[in-house]
């Protein structure tokens, strides 16, 4: 719906920036495309599908980076302080998307744009300033080489607006570390898939946004009521996620035998108590911090005030980081972990990938696949926090073996060879995060193999354990979610594929609408169920969209992303798990659990998704049903 010449819920414009030609241009959003994709990574996937040629080198000027928001971003919908970046990933070579919280997404909309499409590459370092609807490419040679914290601070001084929001890369992105992150508002990371390396390859140091433009609402009173209701629902999570942060779940996961440890050899860690959210709150937490419009506040503003691992205050130490950087390598204490997290943030690399790579390197060293000669004399052992920090610094500086590890675990394992691939945990090149295929839920086996278009990911489209591990219906039962859920260890014949599909389509809505997934994970009374989302979107945009309509839209976006990957050569043979994630767990409550029937589970999922079981391509009929006839022609031939 249009109000005052403006689309309700949107800023209404795309900013197109060509760094090669040093040109910026504005485009109107296409309402007909919005009705099909709504926004966010769905709309961006369409742009990338249309504009990227097959086989483009992700680090070349031909790749494009799209900063995207959704209609709910920056409105009063809870947890709407969200920004997504979509691009072709240098880590995986397929569709890449990565998300951060903070205030960047909302402020981009207040500046007057829903999307920024960045094309080409600059010959010298630049940054992009987007303030109040005017965009400018500016010199950034004085910022090149600076850390994220330094650069962000300098940029805010430079544009003279303390409320401006900055998305920038650190030296990690400049050095094209393949899992470099884009850091938003100092410490919020769009970490996965190497968006930072894409920015680095384009010599784009940062994007600064702010503005005083508003977002129109189609039905203000109805929207406000819906938002108030949704805020109070999602606010119930404050006692859980808000109190101890995401890491608050660490102890519980450990007791359930679902805490990946020692490079996924086991899912139980004896010293979990020392790495828990409670311990963090007792000793290192200065304050909780929330993103814009969030009633939960899971952010941990932490520091290490003194000692060997002294670390300045920053937002960090969330569950994934604690597990991947701390528990996987068995650091046994939060202090070196907080320091490692800070280094990752300020140098701009992904904590999940970095942790995975470090654990992999320790295991390779233990097996004699890498030697003292490779590491420059550094002895890598489980539980040696100082060695981990040293190795992390080597990766950041691309020094010695760090240069190889900066390429990601897949490339490192291929180079090392001699069986290293068996314990290199990645899905399509993306390092496996801290939820396990055997210990947490068998749904993760399917999710890491095919669930996410970007590779092995726990939270996009949705944390797959919500169904069987947590036992939440997510408001999807009336939409066909199999109920009651089976035991989390059962593999086939329990409609796991169907359930995963619904969870994914529901989760996909987060990146389309521009909200945080934590507002969509939990009991039905404390999340944005499809019914709540439908009410919010309908009253905001003025388009009547039922929960079912929303799922069709997310199906379209989700399927299109798969098609993007198919065009890049992905097929069923790539939908697999590393050997390590199928092997029996060594210790703990889930000892002996393994993945036995991956193929059968995948068959169920392909069936549910409407994908061809032989090739892994979405079927022609399925694509037609979604109105993707042109895509079908490319995938299947005319």
């Amino acid at each position: 719906m249009m109000l005052g010449g403006k689309l309700c819920g949107y800023a209404g414009k795309i900013l197109r920036v060509n760094l090669s030609k040093k040109k910026v241009a504005e485009e109107e959003l296409k309402p007909e495309l919005l009705r099909l994709y709504l926004g966010g990574t769905g709309y961006a996937a369409r742009i990338l599908w249309d504009e990227l040629e097959r086989g483009v080198d992700p680090l070349s000027p031909e790749n494009k980076l799209i900063a995207c928001t959704g209609p709910l971003t920056g409105t009063l919908a809870p947890c709407s302080g969200s920004i997504e970046f979509a691009f072709k990933s240098p880590l995986t070579g397929i569709f890449g998307q990565t998300r951060a919280g903070g205030g960047f997404g909302p402020r981009l909309k207040y500046a007057g744009y829903d999307f920024i499409v960045i094309e080409g590459a600059s010959d010298k370092p630049v940054y992009l300033s987007v303030i109040d609807g005017s965009a400018e490419i500016r010199d950034a040679s004085h910022l090149w080489g600076k850390t994220v914290h330094e650069a962000t601070h300098m940029l805010i001084e430079e544009v003279g607006d303390p409320q401006a929001s900055v998305a920038c890369i650190g030296p990690g992105g400049e050095r094209l570390i393949r899992y470099a992150s884009i850091m938003v508002d100092y410490d919020r990371a769009a970490g996965r898939c190497g968006g930072g390396a894409v920015m680095g390859s384009k010599k784009l140091k940062a994007i600064v946004v702010n503005g005083d433009r508003g977002i129109e609402i189609a039905k203000p009173d109805e929207f406000y009521d819906a938002a108030r209701e949704a805020i109070s629902a999602v606010g119930r999570q404050r006692m859980g996620l808000g109190q101890f942060g995401t890491v608050g779940g660490l102890k519980g996961l450990n007791e359930s035998g679902a805490l990946p440890t020692k490079n996924f050899q086991t899912c139980y860690y004896e010293k979990a108590e020392k790495m828990s959210g409670e311990e963090l709150a007792r000793k290192y937490l200065l304050k909780r911090r929330a993103c814009l419009a969030c009633p939960i506040g899971c952010g941990r503003y932490v520091w290490v005030p003194a000692g060997l691992y002294i670390t300045p205050p920053h937002e960090g130490a969330e569950y994934e980081t604690v597990d991947m950087l701390g528990v996987q390598s068995m650091m046994g204490s939060l202090e070196p972990l907080i320091r490692a997290d800070y280094l990752c943030n300020t140098y701009g690399i992904d904590t999940i990938s970095a942790g995975n790579v470090i654990a992999f390197a320790i295991e390779a060293y233990e097996r004699g696949l890498i030697t003292d000669e490779d590491t420059g004399g550094l002895k890598l052992r489980w539980g040696d926090a100082d060695a981990c920090l040293n190795l992390l610094e080597m990766i950041i500086e691309r020094r010695g073996i760090g240069d190889l590890l900066a390429e990601g675990v897949k490339r490192a394992a291929e180079k090392i060879g001699r069986g290293a691939e068996d314990f290199a945990c990645h899905g399509k090149g993306l390092e496996v995060p801290a939820h396990d295929t055997r210990g947490t839920s068998k749904s993760f086996a399917i999710q890491y193999a095919i669930g996410n278009p970007r590779g092995a990911c726990h939270i996009e489209p949705l944390w797959a354990g919500m169904w069987d591990f947590s036992g939440s219906g997510l408001g999807l039962r009336e939409l066909g979610l199999p109920w009651p859920p089976p035991s989390r260890f059962e593999e086939v014949g329990v409609r796991r594929g169907e359930a995963c599909r619904l969870l994914w389509l529901y989760g996909e809505l987060a990146s389309i609408l521009g909200i945080c997934r934590f507002s969509m994970q939990g009991g039905e009374d404390e999340i944005l169920t499809p019914a709540r989302l439908s009410r919010l979107v309908s009253t905001l945009t003025g388009w009547e969209l039922s929960p079912r309509d929303l799922l069709v839209i997310s199906d379209r976006a989700y399927t299109l992303k798969r098609c993007f990957n198919v065009r890049e050569g992905v097929s069923r043979k790539d939908d697999k798990l590393p050997k390590r994630l199928m092997e029996p767990l060594a210790t703990g409550p889930t000892k002996g659990q393994k993945v036995e029937n991956l193929d059968a589970m995948l068959d169920e999922a392909y069936e549910a998704l409407g994908w061809d079981k032989m090739t892994g391509k979405p079927k022609r009929d399925k694509l037609r049903e979604l109105g993707l006839d042109d895509v079908a022609e490319v995938i299947w031939g005319a």
């Binding site: 109070s232 606010g235 969030c294």
Partner: protein
């Protein structure tokens, strides 16, 4: 969230730049602070056009849109930065406590913003004041390495 609710209440649009309450976050320190008008009335005397007056019903500072010229004198004298200028109309933006029913206090999920009668307010203020004393024993920044 309070900023968004404020702009919705007064302009029926989502735009923090048009909010009368603004949250300040200090990135290097553990401070997130909502800055709002305490209705001290300094600006009333400073306004060269007589556009500001005391609302007798709510006790708040009232802006006359007809008389306000957008000169910014109220912004100049406000010690807290609580008075600002609306980016669209260019007129003074000063909290009116939503006619005695402030939207920001209703929506604040953390219960930080409270709108209370004086008896309850005093108790909360004592607690808030006691908290201030804590900072003196807790160093805010670690020694630089």
């Amino acid at each position: 969230m309070c900023e968004l609710a404020c702009s919705y209440r007064h302009f029926r649009v989502i735009n923090p730049a048009r909010s009368r309450i603004r949250v300040v976050r200090l990135p290097q320190e553990p401070v997130d602070s909502p800055i709002y008008c305490i209705q001290c009335g300094l600006c009333i005397g400073a306004c060269p056009f007589g556009a500001l007056s005391r609302d007798l019903k709510t006790g708040t500072v009232k802006v006359s849109f007809e008389k306000c010229t957008g000169c910014g004198m109220c912004v100049h004298v406000c010690p807290y930065g609580a008075a600002s200028r609306d980016p669209e109309s260019r007129k003074a933006l000063i909290c009116d406590l939503c006619d005695g029913d402030p939207e920001c206090a209703k929506i604040c999920p953390e219960g930080v913003l409270l709108y209370l009668d004086p008896d309850d307010a005093a108790a909360y203020k004592r607690i808030a004041f006691s908290r201030l004393q804590r900072k003196e024993v807790t160093p805010l920044k670690p020694d630089a390495r």
